[in-house]
Symmetry: C2
Subunit: 145 residues, 2 copies
């Protein structure tokens, strides 16, 4: 087993994943929010409710800049802050009704494109795919922190 060759394959694979992700999410984001803002909304959507610090850590954006972007998103009525009783320094963030609707629509369209992409794959192959995703995620693409 040639580890060098596997690394080559790994690089080609991750490049392909990035390209497909780009294709699937292309033109999904509304024009009135920036790419960074959209990626923050994605994160909130899957992890809500989250604190400012969590967003800052996970998206690698400094606290001041996170605060600024959340403020803009709040002003656009896409998310809302609420206080947490136990620790009054913290602010939990969740999507607003409008934000939830927007992100639901986005995920729906991405899901449609994904379905289109795998439309010719047989049931058995879909199961192979599912197993392969699980296996790779546990052996290679695990969270190493």
């Amino acid at each position: 087993m040639d580890k060098e060759a596997l690394f080559q394959k790994f690089v080609a694979f991750t490049t392909a994943v990035h390209e497909v992700t780009y294709e699937l999410t292309k033109d999904i984001k509304p024009d009135d929010i920036t790419p960074v803002q959209y990626s923050i909304l994605e994160y909130i959507a899957v992890s809500q409710p989250v604190t400012l610090s969590q967003i800052s850590d996970c998206k690698d954006i400094s606290m001041p800049n996170t605060s600024r972007e959340i403020k803009k998103l709040t002003e656009k009525n896409l998310c809302e802050k609420f206080n947490v009783a136990e620790d009054r320094r913290k602010q939990l963030i969740r999507l607003s009704k409008a934000g939830q609707t927007m992100m639901n629509g986005a995920f729906q369209r991405i899901g449609g494109r994904f379905a289109e992409r795998i439309k010719d794959v047989s049931i058995e192959q879909l199961e192979d795919i599912e197993r392969a995703l699980d296996m790779l995620q546990s052996k290679v693409f695990y969270d190493g922190k």
Copy 2:
């Protein structure tokens, strides 16, 4: 087979791939070039020689902006242009000696991190991984253009 569940798994997987890519390439880029410049150099490294138009297409950067960044990279002595005899409008780009050295070093360090990541995986599992990468790339992460 629940396609909705598969989509969920797909989203989690691509997120994991992006995070691992981030971890592997973190702090690899020299400080004196910008992220976009580094990504252009990566592309040149694996596809050289390339034309300006190819970079513009593949990296989704407008021609004027591609021209500007290539100019900066050339000034930093990381890549060089040369003319192609058949079509004198075209300019082929390749890494300079210094650029090649820089990118070799970068890939080496990324490869080392990758090796660390899979160090506990058995030979048989490495073969499973290789097959899974091939299969997913052909069935899911293919280039749909």
